[in-house]
């Protein structure tokens, strides 16, 4: 079996007295789309900087694509494609010149470079603007060009930092499609994003880190079912009696009961039988007009795990 794409073991990064990442251990398998989530200052950028070799860990081991990042950083970088949050394109140059420069840095064979540039500009639909200065591009076009640049040297592992930040819906969908296409081609993708909808849509697994520590790691569905509540909206003919509310709160699997705008809202854990017990209790005492069930929300999971206070 091939080695994982990323393997962090007890990785710690300190800046003087501040511990940015504290004994973080996680494994990203090859071919998966892995989301790294966390509030501002949680340590995710530091983690990614260590993975991409921009920063050295204070302790612990970091292996990327089977190589030790500390001893073989250059060979790892050759296999790593990155879209930084800032896009970091040379705005005075054309798209083609930016890609050619990247190809030279990554030593893409000259015989293949031109055809590879053509192929990627076609992929991100920038063919007709290839000779225009990047400074004339929209935000979405720049992100697409950054994606083309990251893919130019055909990396095994792609790191996307906020890949759809500040882009329109069309560009966002196009970038999502590219990411999903990469997965089908067996590439490993590491994403950091503040758009949890994006993380949920793209990620095979998500890691949530906070204050430098891993607080949850699983598939989006598992995270929702483990940490999120299913919410039942029940519309009754008459307002529920206090006795009904007390009875509902005592049911196994019910975590909260509230009324709002004439609707009874019941929060449930992942227990699949809890819904039936709630409906039975309600219909025994009142006339139920309508029922609606909301699946758990990743935003709620995130807030539950990392708290609601604002971070700098």
């Amino acid at each position: 079996m091939s080695e994982p794409a990323i393997e962090l073991v007890e990785m710690t990064k300190r800046f003087r007295n501040f511990t940015a990442v504290d004994r973080l251990s996680l494994t990203v398998q090859r071919g998966e789309v892995f989301g790294l989530l966390g509030p501002n200052g949680s340590g995710k950028t530091t983690t990614v900087n260590v993975i991409s070799g921009l920063s050295r860990p204070t302790s612990g081991t970091v292996r990327v694509l089977g190589r030790d990042m500390l001893t073989e950083p250059r060979s790892v970088r050759r296999l790593l494609g990155t879209i930084p949050q800032e896009t970091a394109l040379y705005e005075e140059l054309s798209a083609e010149a930016n890609l050619r420069f990247h190809g030279d840095l990554f030593d893409v064979p000259r015989s293949r470079l031109s055809s590879r540039i053509d192929e990627l500009l076609r992929l991100v639909q920038l063919e007709d603007r290839r000779r225009d200065r990047v400074s004339t591009y929209s935000g979405g076009m720049k992100r697409r060009l950054a994606l083309a640049r990251a893919l130019l040297h055909d990396p095994e592992l792609l790191y996307l930092d906020e890949p759809t930040l500040g882009v329109d819906v069309q560009s966002r969908r196009a970038i999502w499609d590219h990411v999903l296409d990469l997965r089908t081609r067996g590439k490993t993708v590491l994403i950091t994003t503040n758009y949890l909808e994006e993380a949920s849509a793209l990620g095979d697994r998500l890691a949530i880190i906070d204050r430098g520590r891993l607080v949850a790691l699983d598939s989006p569905q598992e995270l929702k079912s483990r940490y999120g509540d299913t919410v039942l909206d029940l519309v009754l003919e008459l307002a529920p009696s206090p006795a009904l509310l007390v009875r509902l709160r005592s049911i196994d699997g019910v975590t909260a009961v509230n009324t709002a705008d004439g609707t009874l809202k019941v929060n449930l854990t992942g227990d699949p039988e809890a819904t039936g017990r709630v409906v039975t209790a309600v219909t025994g005492e009142a006339k139920l007009l309508r029922i609606n069930q909301h699946e758990p929300d990743l935003d709620e999971v995130f807030l539950q795990l990392t708290g609601r206070e604002l971070r700098d």
């Binding site: 921009l54 970091a88 005075e92 140059l93 030279d104 200065r133």
Partner: protein
């Protein structure tokens, strides 16, 4: 091509491409040297040969000869006018003085009486006034010395230290070339470095599988090449105009000096850019620093004639040696102190390149 060399050339080519697409940077680089050169050209015209009005009230052969002597003098730019017009020109500050050769000049000359040539001076400032006070008697002495029956038999034998005369404008071209080289090297390489940090494109470079030395080498190569391209324009233009034309093999040391100048300036630029990491302060500091170096290397006067304390400071200024070497090789076909000049310039280039490379590596690591 080896990946290392390919990366160096790619970074250099990219930096040159960005430089060529930013005309404002090129203008900022060229402007100080061009501006000062224009000032020198205008000043040379204004103070080198003062404009005077000549009023000739005698049509005799001696008066005509004196008038011709004044007109062909290197001290004045002469326009012959009527007395009224000359007075008006003096009043309007169009001329610095009015020289009048009076009626009866030939007669007094033949009688060996003293010449009543008069000069009305616009003593606007002492520099102009002293020039005129010196120039008119000198021109009259020349006039007498050229006469067959002249009682003035003094002959001056001039022995020149140099093999050729160099005009003020020509002489001043060298420190201005030095200024251009310094500003271009410091600003171009400084900006190319600082911009990577300010625009955050440094990530593209640090995430690439290239050696740090390739990055440093590419930056310095671009800074040096852009500086040399500007120097080439000045040297070719200067040679075509006959202003900068070293004879024979003296081209070679002149070009080595220019190349070392550019390298030292590019290293200094990399040091500034990597340390400051913001392009506006790099432009401001780079240009100001270059101007100080320009003045200390004899930008506005011959460095050796400056006050003692300035000369002492100048001897610790690498550009002083560069300017000296260029003047010796380009104008005088001389290798006077060339070894020392090249040693200082080479040492400076090695130091600034090493310091720039170190600063860049530290900034990247941070």
């Amino acid at each position: 091509m080896k990946p290392y060399l390919r990366a160096v050339l790619a970074i250099a080519w990219k930096d040159m491409g960005v430089w060529a697409r930013r005309p404002s940077t090129i203008v900022a680089t060229v402007l100080p040297a061009v501006g000062f050169m224009i000032i020198i050209l205008i000043s040379a015209q204004a103070v080198g040969r003062n404009p005077v009005a000549l009023v000739v009230l005698d049509r005799g052969p001696q008066a005509t000869r004196l008038a011709h002597s004044l007109e062909t003098s290197n001290s004045f730019r002469v326009r012959t006018e009527t007395p009224e017009r000359a007075r008006q020109l003096l009043h309007d500050l169009d001329v610095a003085a009015v020289i009048t050769i009076p009626a009866g000049f030939d007669e007094t000359y033949s009688a060996h009486r003293s010449d009543p040539v008069t000069i009305e001076i616009n003593n606007l400032n002492l520099d102009f006034t002293n020039d005129l006070r010196r120039s008119l008697p000198a021109a009259i002495t020349d006039f007498y010395a050229g006469q067959n029956d002249s009682p003035v038999l003094v002959q001056v034998h001039e022995h020149d230290l140099r093999s050729q005369d160099v005009s003020l404008v020509q002489f001043d071209l060298i420190p201005h070339l030095a200024l251009l080289l310094t500003v271009a090297g410091v600003v171009n390489c400084g900006l190319a470095t600082a911009r990577e940090f300010e625009d955050l494109t440094i990530k593209e470079l640090t995430l690439a599988p290239i050696a740090r030395s390739a990055l440093v080498g590419g930056k310095l190569l671009a800074g040096w090449t852009t500086t040399m391209s500007l120097a080439a324009i000045v040297l070719v233009g200067g040679a075509a105009a006959g202003l900068l034309r070293p004879a024979g093999w003296y081209w070679l040391p002149a070009l080595v000096v220019v190349a070392l100048f550019g390298l030292a300036a590019a290293g200094l630029g990399a040091l500034l850019g990597a340390s400051i990491r913001r392009f506006q302060p790099v432009i401001a500091i780079g240009i100001n620093l270059s101007l100080y170096l320009f003045f200390l290397s004899g930008g506005i006067s011959v460095a050796a004639f400056l006050p003692d304390w300035v000369q002492t400071v100048a001897r610790f200024t690498p550009t002083y040696y560069g300017v000296h070497a260029l003047q010796q090789t380009i104008f005088y076909q001389s290798t006077d102190q060339l070894g020392l000049d090249l040693l200082v310039l080479g040492g400076t280039a090695a130091f600034t390149v090493a310091a720039g490379a170190l600063a860049l590596r530290r900034s990247i690591a941070a």
